[in-house]
């Protein structure tokens, strides 16, 4: 008896001491944030370090769209590009809400607008050089922007500059319109000043200044469509080797001056990027430590998802950020009986939100159930739910039936639903809605269409939609940047809809919303502008022409050897500028 008591006391004491020691160690580690934990890189820096040196290995499951800053249009590319290019302003490489702020990069400060927000002035920092030692001047930025407007040579890039700049009529870019005076659009009064003149007011021009299209390009070394073979660097790293479609590598740029660059630490010596790597292989290599970063940032594949979520050690190496992307369903008021707002509301009430989420891959890999158009990280986001789906989020059948009675279809109605055939998640969404709406008598016939022509010929083509009664259509939109304009302008402005098709806006035709958009563009006060975005969101939702599905999330795995790992909220994945190697 006594011996057992002594043993018990001894054991419990040991246990207590052990736990206390562990707790103490853990506290120390969490203040340092070096202990792997789920979401350890969200809102804070994981494994902070100032150690220089080493090589970071990236892999891309496909091809890079292009390394040319004038044309690249993928978020991960914009994130990475800051290693070899400096745009006028950039998103702050910081965790949490700080990462949503714009800070000056090549420019000395954010843009200075005129009173009417039609003229924007930036001063270029002194002492910034290209990789060959030639100084970067305002002319190089002007040239970079102008060449990006040549859509015959660069058809894939963003089109904001040609839309907003006051370019001379018929201007086709510097290759075809050589010698044409473009001072009406961009002026360079001296080597360090650049002035942009717009056709219409735009209060958010700093977001345009963030675009890679403002990364300076030396005219003497510009080879148009071939420039991507060797982009001349203005950043801390330059291209060592570039085998298009296979791989490329970056090494230190000897002419980069830390004194001109408060935003970058430039810790690693080298970057290696492999392209067209098998997606499952990427996940296996990340997990084993053979690879540092899955550059595309859309998360692990289904095969690895189960492993990562199921194994506590692996889950501790993962982060689950939300991206500024909404997966949703358009409800087309041009297709009867959806011209009646109550019929549309019936769909919104009857939809099974949980089913939508499951169709997209669940809580971690799919996303968060959405009740608004703007995802939470967009400034101006207001949380509201105009069509509560019941406590279990599976839909409010009673309210849906009420709405059906109000619209004169008490027993439901029939309509067609379009989705993109190559996307299993959209097929699953369509099937989920088909089942959910059947509960109130709304019969959906599902119609798959090829994604390449989805917007130009089918769901996004108004005459086709009307003739073929496509009442519902799966849709999705990711903001070019985390701002109301970037998120909303292409999907709720009725003026982007073309009768010839091609627009992502399938269903929103609200004149009041168009006016509110214009109002926001001209509003120079940030707080007021953000409030308008929120109001637009609500107004569109009141019209019941969009059924929000989910705010996309991705399950990312941290590389084992990385330091300074954090999610940059502007991109929704790791900040590639800050990373170092242990």
């Amino acid at each position: 008896m006594r011996r057992r008591t002594v043993t018990a006391v001894a054991l419990s004491t040991a246990l207590a001491l052990g736990l206390a020691a562990c707790a103490k160690a853990k506290t120390d580690d969490t203040t340092q944030n070096t202990t792997p934990a789920f979401n350890a890189a969200m809102g804070k820096v994981f494994n902070p370090s100032d150690k220089k040196g080493g090589t970071i290995k990236f892999a891309n499951l496909g091809d890079w769209d292009t390394l040319d800053p004038g044309e690249t249009y993928y978020g991960y590319s914009w994130d990475f590009l800051r290693l070899y290019g400096r745009s006028l302003v950039m998103f702050k490489p910081a965790p949490g809400a700080d990462g949503l702020k714009l800070v000056p990069d090549l420019a000395e400060s954010l843009g200075v607008p005129s009173a009417d927000a039609k003229t924007w002035t930036y001063k270029i920092r002194q002492g910034v050089k290209f990789e060959d030692g030639t100084p970067v001047t305002s002319k190089d930025v002007k040239y970079a922007v102008l060449r990006s407007t040549d859509k015959a040579t660069f058809p894939n890039g963003p089109a904001y500059f040609e839309q907003f700049l006051n370019l001379p009529a018929g201007y086709q870019g510097p290759y075809k319109s050589k010698g044409v005076d473009t001072n009406s659009a961009i002026e360079t009064p001296d080597e360090n000043t650049i002035v942009f003149h717009l056709k219409q007011p735009f209060s958010g021009f700093d977001y345009f200044a963030m675009l890679p299209q403002t990364v300076p390009v030396p005219e003497a070394k510009d080879t148009a469509a071939k420039y991507k073979e060797h982009v001349v660097s203005s950043g801390p790293y330059m291209f060592e080797k570039n085998e298009i479609g296979k791989s490329f590598s970056l090494v230190r740029n000897p002419n980069w001056d830390q004194a001109t660059d408060p935003n970058r630490k430039a810790l690693p010596d080298r970057y290696e990027v492999a392209l067209n790597v098998n997606a499952d292989d990427i996940d296996n290599r990340l997990i084993s430590g053979d690879l540092d970063v899955d550059v595309v940032g859309t998360g692990v594949q289904p095969a690895a998802l189960g492993r990562v979520l199921g194994d506590p050690n692996l889950k501790a190496q993962a982060d689950n950020p939300t991206i500024a992307r909404l997966w949703y369903t358009s409800i087309n008021p041009q297709v009867k009986p959806l011209d009646n707002i109550d019929c549309r509301k019936a769909i919104l009430y009857a939809a099974d939100r949980t089913g939508y989420q499951t169709a997209y891959g669940g809580e971690f890999s799919g996303g968060q159930i959405a009740t608004t158009i703007m995802p939470p990280m967009i400034p101006g986001y207001q949380q509201f739910d105009l069509y509560p789906a019941g406590a279990d989020n599976k839909g409010d059948v009673a309210k849906a039936k009420e709405a059906l009675t109000a619209c004169g279809q008490p027993n439901g109605f029939e309509t067609n639903m379009a989705y993109r055939a190559e996307r299993p998640r959209e097929k699953a969404t369509a099937e989920s809605l088909q089942q959910a709406l059947a509960r109130v008598g709304i019969k959906l016939t599902l119609k798959p269409f090829p994604q390449g022509d989805y917007f130009s010929q089918y769901a996004g083509n108004p005459p086709y939609s009307r003739t073929n009664k496509l009442g519902l259509a799966t849709n999705g939109w990711g903001a070019d940047w985390n701002d109301g304009f970037g998120m909303l302008s292409q999907i709720v402005d009725s003026r982007v809809i073309r009768e010839t098709g091609g627009s992502s806006n399938i269903s929103v035709r609200i004149p009041q919303v168009d006016q509110m958009l214009d109002q926001a563009l001209a509003e120079t006060d940030v707080t007021k502008r953000e409030a308008i975005w929120g109001q637009i969101d609500k107004r569109v939702m009141e019209e019941a022409v969009i059924l929000p599905g989910i705010y996309a999330k991705a399950l990312l795995v941290r590389g084992k050897h990385l330091t300074n790992v954090f999610i940059n909220e502007s991109f929704g994945y790791y900040d590639y500028l800050a990373l170092g190697v242990q």
Binding site: A59, G62, D63, E71, Y73, D150, K151, A152, T153, P155, N156, G157, P158, A159, Y160, Y175, D222, T223, A224, A225, K226, I244, G245, K246, A274, N276, V277, N278, D280, D281, N284, R285, S288, D290, L291, G452, D453, S456, Q457, R498, T500, G502, S504
Partner: protein, 337 residues
């Protein structure tokens, strides 16, 4: 023999043009039947911010407004005489054979194909030697030890090899041998033979063995069946009666006769493989022709699709020619022509 070869090569050229014409038509005719216009075709090669203007400019640049026959003629001229390519800031001359420039990457196709071909050839040749030797040896031994433990085990493993898909065995092998044990190279590794032969072999050993496993199985079973049939023939008994060494009986008399069907299959397999070992290259992330073909098809990149199809057809035809020539060598009864 020489006339025969020349005749076959001429026929090959005609065949390749025929294949190119068919591929070209499929690319353009099928969408047209579905109602495509030059603009809707061009939307595939522009970004999401593209205006109608951009789409039209792209359709013009890619030549979609010309009749299909004219577009094909332009392509043929490029192959035969080379062509000039406007890359925006200037014009580049693309010498013959110019298989055009990719619609997506704007890179010339022919240099890409040559580059990728070395990878696929490395993969195919290495794997084919391994599977031929391993498969035939296993098959011969199994046939000679029919019904034994070795025979049953070998045929069982062969069944596994034939049944397991490469995208399974490949990924699992990588996890075990490359990332677990660290004895083989990770996915995506390729060093050209001319740069470092030892590194070249080290990078490819796992894809070789995984791919060979798939084929060796079939060859083992084929060889076993062929050997069993041949070893029961009368002339084998005669050869033994003559006092020849058993090894000579098996190889010179038994295997040689059983080799003919194996050779046929081998030629076809290698020809197809050189045209693009799609699954292996995708699984091991090797930048070969197969991966190139898949990307080209998924991106509707016509010049790449044309290039890869022509090359694949060429390899299959040449492989068949070589097989036919080898028949004449192996089997004296065969007369060419």
């Amino acid at each position: 023999m020489v006339t025969y070869i020349i005749r076959r090569l001429l026929a090959t050229v005609v065949l390749l043009f025929f294949v190119s014409a068919v591929t070209f038509s499929i690319f353009f005719v099928v969408p047209r039947i579905a109602g495509s216009t030059p603009e809707t075709l061009a939307t595939r090669y522009v970004g999401r911010a593209a205006t109608e203007e951009t789409v039209k400019l792209t359709a013009e640049r890619l030549g979609f407004y010309d009749p299909v026959v004219v577009q094909y003629g332009r392509w043929v001229k490029g192959v035969v005489a080379g062509t000039d390519y406007d890359y925006g800031a200037g014009v580049e001359h693309c010498p013959a054979p110019c298989l055009g420039y990719s619609f997506i990457t704007r890179q010339p196709v022919w240099p890409d194909l040559l580059d990728r071909m070395t990878v696929t050839l490395s993969l195919a040749i290495g794997a084919s030697i391994i599977w031929l030797l391993a498969g035939v040896a296993t098959g011969v031994l199994s046939a000679l030890r029919r019904g034994s433990v070795f025979d049953r085990a070998a045929m069982g493993i062969a069944l596994g090899g034939v049944s397991l898909p490469i995208f399974f065995t490949g990924i699992v092998s990588l996890v075990i041998f490359s990332y677990g044990l660290g004895i083989t190279a990770p996915g995506g590794s390729f060093t050209p033979f001319t740069e470092n032969p030892a590194e070249w072999a080290y990078d490819l050993i796992l894809p070789w063995i995984t791919l060979a496993f798939l084929f060796a199985a079939a060859y083992a079973r084929l060889t076993r069946a062929g050997m069993l049939e041949t070893m029961n023939e009368d002339y084998i008994r005669t050869a033994r009666a003559k006092g020849l060494k058993e090894r000579t009986v098996i190889t010179r008399h038994g295997l040689r006769a059983a080799l003919t069907p194996i050779l046929t299959i081998f030629g076809l397999d290698v020809g197809l493989l050189v045209g693009g070992a799609v699954l292996t290259e995708s699984t091991f992330s090797l930048p070969g022709l197969g991966k190139y073909a898949i990307d080209a098809i998924l991106n509707n990149d016509l010049p790449k699709v044309m290039g890869v199809t022509i090359l694949a057809a060429f390899f299959i035809v040449i492989a068949n020619l070589i097989v036919d020539l080898l028949y004449a060598v192996i089997d004296p009864r065969v007369r060419l022509g």
